[in-house]
């Protein structure tokens, strides 16, 4: 029964893992890009909206993993939200297919300022293996300005978390 499961979990204690701190260089670089006003307004919490701009779905698997009890994203003040209108950060995956350029731009435009666009995965960086195809624009920056890139195919949850925490630290000043 569920109750027995819950009781066992309580006795065992949390399974979420401690995480290494992001490199000071990354934090400094990002901090320089954030203005004081936005820091004051947002504090140490970021609402994240994921946008799939034509990914193979590999990156999505690892973004899902961020929400599992091992990485437990929310304890860092990071939270996935359902609408771009609630978002501070747009986490964009995929090489940006031409069929999604307009939808991506509209989603980014729908997020209130200040906002940050994070390109996730080698595809998001420059189109990855799909670079040069007639059907892709070739990376997130081909469609919207990008503030941070997290490379990897797909990047591991730990890598994504590190990138997001760097953003958070920079944000907190």
């Amino acid at each position: 029964m569920p109750l027995r499961h819950i009781a066992r979990a309580v006795l065992r204690g949390p399974v979420s893992e401690k995480l290494a701190a992001p490199a000071p260089a990354t934090v400094g670089e990002l901090a320089a890009r954030l203005d004081a006003a936005s820091q004051a307004r947002l504090g140490r919490s970021l609402a994240i909206r994921h946008v799939d701009a034509g990914s193979c779905n590999g990156c999505e698997l690892e973004l899902h993993a961020l929400q599992n009890i091992v990485y437990d994203l929310e304890r860092f003040g990071l939270r996935f939200v359902a609408s771009p209108r609630h978002a501070d950060v747009l986490l964009v995956t995929g090489p940006v297919t031409r069929n999604l350029v307009e939808a991506l731009r509209a989603t980014v435009a729908a997020a209130p300022d200040p906002k940050w666009v994070v390109a996730v995965g080698d595809c998001g960086v420059d189109g990855g293996v799909f670079k040069g195809s007639y059907a892709v624009a070739g990376g997130v920056s081909a469609a919207v300005p990008v503030d941070l890139v997290i490379a990897g195919c797909p990047p591991t949850p730990a890598q994504v978390l590190l990138g997001l925490r760097a953003l958070l630290e920079a944000n907190a000043g």
Binding site: S55, N57, L61, N68, I69, F80, R98, V101, F130, Y134
Partner: protein, 501 residues
Amino acid sequence: MSEIETILRGAEPVPCAPWSRYVLNPASWQALAAAAAPPMALWADTTQVHALYADEARNLILIASCAVQNGRYPALSPLRPGARWFERMIADLWGHAAEGGVDARPWLDHGRWPNTLPMAARPGPPPLPPEPPEFLPVPGAEEGGDLHQVPVGPIHAGIIEPGHFRFSCLGEAVMRMEARLGYTHKGTLGLMRGKSPRAAARFAARLSGDATVAHSIAFARAAEAACGIEAPPRAAALRAVMAEVERVAVHLGDIGAIINDAAFSLGLARFGWHREMVLRATAAAFGHRLMMDVVVPGGVVTDIAPGGAEALREALRAAADEMPALARFQDDVASLADRLIGTGIVPPGMAEAFAAGGTVGRAAGRDADARRWPGYPPYDTLSFAVPVRTEGDTDARVRVRFAELEQSMAMIQALLARLPEGPLSIALPTASGEGIGVAETFRGDAWHWLRLDHGAIAASFVRDPSWAHWPLLEAAVQDIVVADFPLCNRSFNAAYSGVDL
């Protein structure tokens, strides 16, 4: 002589391994579609259209081809409903029109590419400015009618692939849902063209990242068949280990996500934990959490790392230990049963009509599994059951996943216990020819076909099992309430990228 033999008599078989391709005249092309089980896929090259048949009842696998004349070929969609989406895709990519087809609306081409007909011998002119997509008329949904329309997507409110769903609703009830996909079209077939199988394997591995291993196996087997080689036994065994680990990892993630969509978050927490532990063991064993690019034509690129087998065994044992308790939730938790049972029923006969495989087909009574038939190494040496149910609802799709988890976990243990010795791969000769490969992804049977010209891919096609699942989803969500759509959609977990190519 059987009806099919009569149709094929006199047709010229084109060398294709391990199953032949026959070039048929237009009348035979249509007669075969009527006589055999529904085709798995239709696709084209610059001069012909092709249809893949895999008819288990007749133990028959073949590709039928028909010459395109004046830009047209006889449609199969009036005979076989599943052909409809393929015919639309063929028109968009190659420009061949399905004469007499039931649906001439574009599919992949949203009017955004630099040129139309990207796969044609000569690419078409630039597109006209994009127009709003056209949806099938639904009685009552017209202006002033009783139904209201709910457009959803392409960008969805979760971590999920993009696609557009158009719901026509009467109050809360869905009268009809039509999916419009193609948003993630990356031009994969175009990228494969001209590359060696080794170079093109990267695209097969990224057709659908959640099924990267199984698609890589199907692609590799197609390339190996075209070259007349077979990967060494150790490679075949390691591929199977990876494919079953992939299935286990996805099913763990999927079951957790499905029951979470039914508001049972404890399940998500436990399944998420086990999935993570399996992925970590996988990274320890094969160097990559999703095992991308490990399977290549000719074999595999890396051996299982020292300690990898133990790590996998350990993670699987922990998952297997908790699985009976987690499976019992489905019976014991009334709120869960209430959401799952009778929700999103695939109508009887549809799985057969669309040749739907995987958990979707098997939960709706279609007893098919590419590992058993036609089969491929090393599954012929393994014993496993193929769980089948007939209810066709979300509950059945979850139960099939649980049963498959158990089978796959046992298979992995058996494979790891006796990995054959020997080389990991053999070199692919520079060859010309055609090959077909099949592998059972967690979604069902994936088929790859390619034609090599002096070692370079001249033409190819990839049939992800989800081609059959989207039409079934549209049918299954008729009469549900809109709020149950995410649950149904998740229980299908059809690929977007996999069918958008």
